[in-house]
């Protein structure tokens, strides 16, 4: 007789809503008439994610393990789920933008038609839109929310797949430069599959070493065999590799520039913001809950990877001439900064880690700013779609002062200039790291920030101090969805920089793991 596991429906409500919306989306895709689909899909997806956000917020303060011990409902889970749901909803708004592209959508009308074929050229100018992207994205959001809450390694793996598979697909759905987009999807899929395999292998080894996939049991077992079995350490290393891949941390970053460049810009925004949050949520949970008592096993590893990631991101970012690639390297550098926060293992109130609250705040701030940057990117267009080559942005400050000002704000935030959210985030993670004695790492991080600042500045120089080119790009007038995204992200970037107290407080209160 199998006993039904103990399920707390309240704790599961966010998942039910988001996955429910995704399933409804699939049904809509099958049954609703084509011309009605777009608004309905957008409505369903937004209802799901915003409902997920609300129900998550209602769970604030909850601390329990449910679903037979497979799911944790605790501060970090709730905070990060809410972050993912919120950022996901904003990304969906960007997906739904229809007034920028002359063909009314950033997504290809029929992904299965070979690129460059007569049929493809025909569809190129058609205003038919494709709406599978909404349920796919909703699934991905659900997977991400599960990822940060999973209390055992198997659930974590399933969540990893649930979030990854739709992402691979939607990367290949760009309406323009389709081959580039499909190449990106294949690359992402291949490398992602490897990463999943690493994760799975690590899971097996850890299970072999500890006899359990439950994080709390692993923790006890790891503590008991201090000095470490080879299996355990090896398994941990493989798990970390799998997660670092998703977080686009160097040296596991090779896919990032190509995929960021090839994917449709709203999808890039979604990946850059939400995937990063989810991956770091999982990293935090794995390291703090699963291996919290054997810090020595992962500390040197994370320390080294953080340095590599910051240096690679900052230095290679310098040589980029395409904005999306540049932002990809910037994302790699930021992953390194986030890892300095992960190292801040202690110092918080009630035995929590300063690093957890710092990293969570950073993720929120970085996610919002990144969404904003990519939203601006979708506005600047020429005949061939988005004008992402740097030289196209020359003199934008003169031609379109508001767009340029918004972009400059985001870039300054990414560079970590005070009075923007980027600075508060950096300060929070660096404080956690120094508090834990990792000041050499912080010095490296600061130097990397200075190098990275150069490429952010270069865009500002181009926009403001260069003369506009004669045949420069046009700046589209965004419709309501993108305007909304920009309004939210600009406000958040400023507010989290000037008066971050309330959100920092929330992050600090939410820093305690269960399990």
């Amino acid at each position: 007789m199998i006993e039904a596991p103990d399920l707390s429906l309240g704790a599961l409500a966010p998942f039910l809503l988001v996955f429910g919306a995704a399933c409804v989306g699939v049904l809509v895709e099958a049954f609703a008439p084509r011309e009605r689909r777009h608004p309905v899909q957008v409505a369903v997806a937004l209802t799901g994610t915003l409902g997920g956000l609300l129900t998550t917020l209602l769970l604030a303060g909850e601390r329990q393990v449910t679903a037979g011990g497979a799911l944790a409902v605790d501060g970090p889970a709730v905070f990060l789920q809410a972050t993912i749901a919120g950022l996901g909803a904003l990304s969906l708004l960007m997906f739904a933008e229809r007034s920028l592209d002359p063909a009314r959508s950033a997504f290809v009308a029929a992904a299965a038609v070979p690129a460059g074929s007569p049929r493809d050229r025909e569809l190129m100018t058609a205003t038919r839109v494709q709406t599978e992207v909404y349920p796919l994205t909703t699934f991905a959001i659900g997977g991400m929310m599960l990822f940060v809450a999973s209390n055992d390694l198997l659930i974590m793996f399933i969540a990893l797949e649930v979030l990854s598979l739709p992402l691979y697909l939607i990367c290949g759905l760009a309406r323009r430069r389709r081959l580039l987009s499909q190449e990106a999807a294949v690359k992402y899929f291949l490398l992602g599959a490897f990463a999943s395999a690493f994760f799975l292998y690590g899971l097996a080894l850890v299970y072999g070493a500890t006899g359990s996939i439950r994080l709390s049991v692993i923790r006890e077992s790891a503590a008991a065999q201090a000095g470490g079995g080879v299996l355990l350490v090896l398994g941990l290393a493989l798990l970390v590799v799998g997660l670092m891949f998703k977080a686009s941390v160097a040296p596991f970053h090779a896919w990032t520039p190509d995929v960021y460049q090839g994917a449709p810009t709203p999808v890039t925004a979604f990946m850059a913001a939400c995937t990063k949050v989810a991956a770091f949520g999982a990293i935090l949970r794995l390291l703090y809950v699963g291996f919290g008592t054997s810090e020595w096993t992962w500390r040197p590893l994370v320390y080294g990877i953080a340095i590599v990631s910051m240096v690679v991101g900052a230095v290679l970012g310098l040589t980029q001439t395409d904005l999306k690639r540049m932002l990809a390297y910037s994302s790699i550098a930021h992953a390194g900064f986030l890892l300095t926060g992960v190292l801040g293992y202690g110092g918080g109130a009630d035995g929590t880690a300063l690093g957890v609250s710092g990293t969570m705040f950073y993720l929120l701030a970085y996610g919002l700013t990144t969404l904003g940057v990519f939203a601006v990117l979708t506005l600047v267009r020429d005949g061939d779609g988005e004008a992402t080559h740097l030289s196209k942005w020359a003199g934008l400050g003169r031609r379109s002062p508001l767009t340029a000002a918004v972009m400059a704000l985001f870039l300054l935030a990414l560079a970590g200039i005070p009075l923007t959210s980027g600075f508060t985030g950096k300060f929070a993670v660096f404080r956690a790291a120094i508090d834990d004695g990792a000041w050499p790492l912080v010095v490296v991080a600061l130097l990397a920030s200075a190098v990275a600042a150069f490429f952010y500045l270069r865009v500002i120089v181009l926009m403001y101090f260069s003369e506009p080119a004669a045949d420069g790009p046009t700046v589209g007038v965004p419709g309501l969805p993108t305007t909304l995204v920009l309004a939210v992200t600009v406000t958040a970037t400023v507010v989290l920089g000037v008066i971050p107290g309330a959100v920092l407080d929330l992050a600090e209160q939410a820093a305690g793991f269960v399990g």
Binding site: R398, F430, L457, I499
Partner: protein
């Protein structure tokens, strides 16, 4: 009225002013200028009133305001001034309206709007006030970095031909310094958390924390690098000539007049009191940089053909003097250094302004493109002379008092460095007088020459006109026919330019003749700093036992 939040008002007024000016519709340039002038005059008034409310013999920090800002980081929005900060606020108050007036007729390249220029200028003023008025180290850091942004845009949007390069170089140098300081700021916080149980950024609390000497040395270096880049000491100075030369005149005045003073102010306010042991240990090395700066920059200044670069290099030399005064650890020398900070802002500011007026007439920055201007523009030449003499510290000008105080205060403790620095004074006389003589006296020549009746050969290699001005049709003919006495096409100071120069000249002379009020204002704060650093306030034997000299 002592409860009035003077400092908060001095930060808020220009910030709001900047927003208003930026929000003005296109084409309302005149309104923008008037608004900027009005706002900056209000700030000056506030600065004067704040000084009146300041009790010289009272508490160290006065006019304090403090509200919690980011409780999680232990950060307060805490403002307050001692005598040193107060005189810097007065300097800001004086310089900004002068700069606004001096930029009145600027025509930026590419039809950029002067509205934006004045908006950035006012925002810069707000941040500059903040950086001097902050008594919370975190808040100081925030203003320190935020200040870069408006200056970056001022240089990059409104500067000379190489403005992009100069702007990026300026930003990156300062940012690197700032980030190193950020590491030290966080380190300081963590140290205070370990010592006091709860981390703090409050300057007054941090001052009392005992820090391990080795840690002190690291933290000192973190702060020092940032400040040494800001107030360029010699190996860190290369950005200043570029920025000074490419910045619009108004920006250049504020850059060397105020922005760079944050560096020397930082030495006095943060390096010395927070890390007294490290300051004493490392002082000899700092002094080597300081004196090297005095001599090296003076030599470089003599070699410059670009007037703005020349003035920028003179500033590097002056900053060497200021650093010498600070790290000599006597009350006299440091008082001299603080006075020097103010006086340098006035004299070099004036020098930049008058050079700017000359450039506006001729359109060239080269010394060789001018000659004999004094004959037709005696007022301009007179102001140039006053600025130059103040810059070389002639007795009777303001700089003399401060330079003399620095030297006489440093000599008892650091005789060798002081004697070496004295050579710099001779060099200063050379570079200032040479440029004055070449441009203002001698036969008329250069870009301002009246075109000869039968225009012979056009320009002989004079650079292209820079930044507009009245040089559109000026063709240089160095070998004009000797028959007709050559005449320059140059007008003397306009009433607006007189209004710019007059208050500066007046201050240069007034503070040269009667500096006592300023000294009285500064001295208590300096004495307090000296007692923090463990030097004898009397200023005779400041060496700590076992000192390294």
């Amino acid at each position: 009225m002592t409860d009035f939040p003077w400092l908060l008002a001095m930060i808020a007024v220009p910030a709001v002013g900047a927003a208003v000016v930026a929000a003005l519709p296109r084409g309302r340039e005149e309104t923008a200028k008037q608004a900027a002038l009005g706002v900056s005059l209000v700030v000056l008034l506030l600065a004067v009133l704040a000084t009146a409310a300041f009790d010289v013999g009272g508490e160290r920090f006065q006019l304090t305001t403090s509200v919690p800002w980011i409780p999680d980081f232990g950060v307060d929005f805490a403002l307050g001034v001692d005598g040193i900060a107060l005189v810097m606020l007065l300097l800001i108050g004086v310089l900004v309206p002068v700069v606004v007036l001096a930029s009145w007729r600027d025509e930026p390249v590419g039809r950029r709007s002067m509205r934006t220029f004045f908006a950035w200028l006012l925002l810069l003023e707000s941040f500059m006030v903040g950086v001097f008025a902050a008594t919370d180290v975190f808040l100081f850091y925030v203003f320190f970095e935020a200040m870069l942004v408006p200056m970056y845009f001022l240089i990059g949007s409104f500067g000379g031909p190489r403005r992009q390069y100069a702007a990026v170089k300026f930003f990156l140098y300062s940012l690197v310094g700032g980030l190193v300081m950020l590491a030290a700021v966080i380190g300081l916080y963590v140290v205070s958390a370990n010592e006091l149980g709860e981390g703090t950024f409050a300057f007054d609390t941090l001052r009392q924390v005992e820090i391990d000497p080795d840690v002190q040395r690291l933290l000192f270096l973190g702060f020092f690098v940032a400040f040494a880049i800001k107030a360029p000491l010699v190996p860190f100075h290369t950005w200043l000539p570029d920025s000074g030369a490419e910045a619009p005149i108004g920006g250049a005045v504020l850059l060397v007049g105020v922005l760079d003073k944050v560096g020397t102010f930082g030495f006095i306010r943060y390096c010395l009191p927070l890390f007294p042991d490290a300051s004493r240990d490392l002082a000899p090395y700092v002094l080597v940089l300081a004196v090297a700066g005095v001599l090296y920059a003076a030599l470089l200044a003599m070699g410059q053909s670009d007037m703005k670069r020349l003035v920028a290099y003179t500033s590097v030399a002056h900053f060497g003097f200021i650093a010498l005064g600070i790290f000599a650890f006597t009350t006299e020398a440091t008082t001299g250094a603080v006075l020097y900070m103010v006086n340098h802002g006035l004299s070099t500011g004036l020098l930049f302004l008058v050079v700017g007026m000359l450039i506006a007439r001729g359109g060239s920055r080269q010394v060789g493109d001018y000659g004999g201007v004094a004959r037709q523009a005696p007022l301009l030449a007179g102001v140039f002379l006053v600025a130059g003499l103040a810059s070389l510290a002639l007795p009777g000008t303001n700089s003399f008092v401060s330079e003399f105080l620095v030297l006489i205060g440093s000599f008892p403790t650091r005789p060798v460095f002081t004697v070496l620095a004295t050579v710099g004074i001779v060099l200063a006389a050379l570079y200032v007088l040479l440029v004055y003589q070449r441009t203002m006296h001698g036969p008329p020549r250069g870009v301002l020459l009246e075109p000869a009746p039968e225009a012979s050969a056009p320009g002989t290699g004079s650079p292209a006109p820079v930044g507009g001005g009245g040089a559109t049709a000026a063709t240089a003919t160095l070998d004009a026919p000797a028959a007709a006495p050559a005449r320059l096409r140059v007008h003397d100071l306009t009433p607006r330019e007189l209004a710019v120069a007059a208050p500066m000249v007046a201050l240069v002379i007034a503070l040269g003749v009667y500096p006592q009020p300023l000294i009285d204002l500064v001295e208590p704060a300096v004495a307090a700093t000296m007692s923090d650093v463990g030097a004898d306030p009397a200023g005779v034997t400041p060496e700590a036992p076992g000192g390294t000299d």
